[in-house]
């Protein structure tokens, strides 16, 4: 800045007062804008506020959690993406339907029939593990994952994972999912309401039913080499026992 500019700066600084020579205020005065177009000024103030409000509502709407609980009875629900879930008594599940329709958090035991969507994996975060799937039927509980259809990936908190296919189960031991050698045929009967057997050895059928009803069962007669195929509703144990007995020509009794 040359000498004459220093003069200009000195002149400006000598007379400067904040708010003086305010072009906007002067224009409002000269044009009578404030009285003629009050709406314009209201809009100028209101629009950013309205925009902020809309954004706020939008984001809080997006972040809304939907929560499901099952108290005394198992409860079935359908999520936004078409996935069917069944919650065992005492279980909870929550997710953000607008933000992450295929990511759920859960406690307790939940059975899933996941709507297929290859592009968007379905993720279950449970206290013990994270389960990622594309579209299958499986269930997750505090200490195990059972797969009925398709494939799922189970990751423990330490990041070690296993892939399970239909009929396989994993138990979580110290945060590491371990493939189970022997599994019950219908780990999810409580949710599906059906026992499904396909040439299942009779001994496995009895274990399955015992586990479900909490009742020890015994065969009267010779059970060796006998297996069962068919579907039974979970409604009534005595009826199931009678049907199986008739089909295999044996007698099943509660101990």
């Amino acid at each position: 800045m040359n000498q004459i500019d220093e003069h200009k700066l000195s002149f400006v600084l000598r007379h400067y007062r904040p708010g003086l020579f305010d072009t906007q205020k002067a224009w409002e005065k000269v044009s009578g804008m404030t009285s003629r177009h009050p709406m314009r000024w209201i809009l100028l103030w209101a629009m950013p506020i309205a925009a902020a409000l809309i954004l706020g509502v939008f984001f809080s709407w997006r972040n809304t959690w939907t929560e499901y609980n099952a108290y005394d009875l198992a409860q079935a629900f359908t999520l936004k993406d078409g996935t069917h879930i069944t919650l065992a008594p005492g279980s909870t599940l929550r997710y953000q339907p607008h933000k992450a329709p295929r990511q759920v958090e859960m406690t307790g035991k939940v059975h899933y029939a996941v709507a297929r969507d290859e592009a968007h994996p379905f993720r279950v975060t449970a206290p013990a593990a994270t389960v990622t799937v594309l579209g299958t039927v499986f269930q997750v509980s505090e200490d195990r994952v059972d797969v009925t259809e398709g494939r799922v990936r189970v990751d423990g908190p330490q990041g070690k994972g296993v892939v399970l296919t239909a009929g396989q189960s994993a138990r979580l031991k110290d945060g590491v999912p371990m493939l189970e050698e022997t599994t019950l045929p219908n780990p999810s009967a409580w949710a599906t309401g059906v026992f499904r057997y396909d040439a299942t050895p009779l001994d496995d059928v009895l274990k399955d039913l015992s586990a479900y009803y909490g009742v020890p069962l015994q065969v009267k007669g010779d059970s060796t080499g006998k297996s069962l195929t068919g579907e039974f509703s979970t409604d009534n144990l005595d009826e199931i026992l009678e049907l199986i007995g008739l089909a295999l020509e044996i007698e099943l009794v509660r101990e």
Partner: protein, 166 residues
């Protein structure tokens, strides 16, 4: 007759330069704003076509300023600088950059502006400013040198940018 839109453009471009121009004549900011605003109102009411709005406004402000000075008894109304009289052409030529500097001072961070004005406008020493604002002399010196840096280097360019919004 000029359209409101054209008047508004002239106003947003020349209001502050015209104020600085009139300030060289009148030295009183309040009288300055009255004169400049009256000139714009007169332009608005002008029935005859105005070819050069800027030139018309500068001469309107000059005439009104000289009238105002004559009313206070000055026989030779001349524009002036802090050091004494300057020519009317000089006052007009300087007003544009002075307006930019004014806007640049407006845009300074508050503490820098306060320190700068206390020193350059009110003539306080760094020590007096430090006491007044409850900061160290070193900080005062810093604020002032930063402020001057902004005004000398960044100010005018930055204001080109700000003006382009109008």
């Amino acid at each position: 007759m000029l359209q409101t839109k054209e008047i508004e453009t002239l106003f947003r471009t020349y209001y502050r330069p015209l104020c600085l121009y009139a300030l060289h004549y009148l030295g009183d900011p309040e009288a300055v704003e009255d004169v400049v605003q009256e000139s714009f109102t007169a332009l608005w009411r002008q029935e005859n076509p105005v070819a050069n709005g800027k030139a018309w406004l500068y001469s309107a402000v000059r005439n009104r300023s000289i009238d105002a000075l004559r009313r206070t008894g000055k026989t030779e109304p001349l524009p002036s600088d802090l050091d004494g009289p300057i020519s009317d052409d000089d006052a007009e030529a300087r007003s544009a950059l002075e307006a930019r500097l004014w806007t640049a001072v407006d845009a300074l961070p508050e503490m820098r502006r306060k320190c700068l004005l206390l020193a350059k406008r009110d003539g306080l020493s760094y020590k007096e400013i430090a006491d007044e604002l409850n900061i160290s002399e070193h900080t005062v010196r810093n604020h002032i040198s930063r402020a001057l840096e902004t005004l000398r280097e960044g100010g005018p360019q930055m204001l080109d940018f700000i003006f382009s919004f109008f």
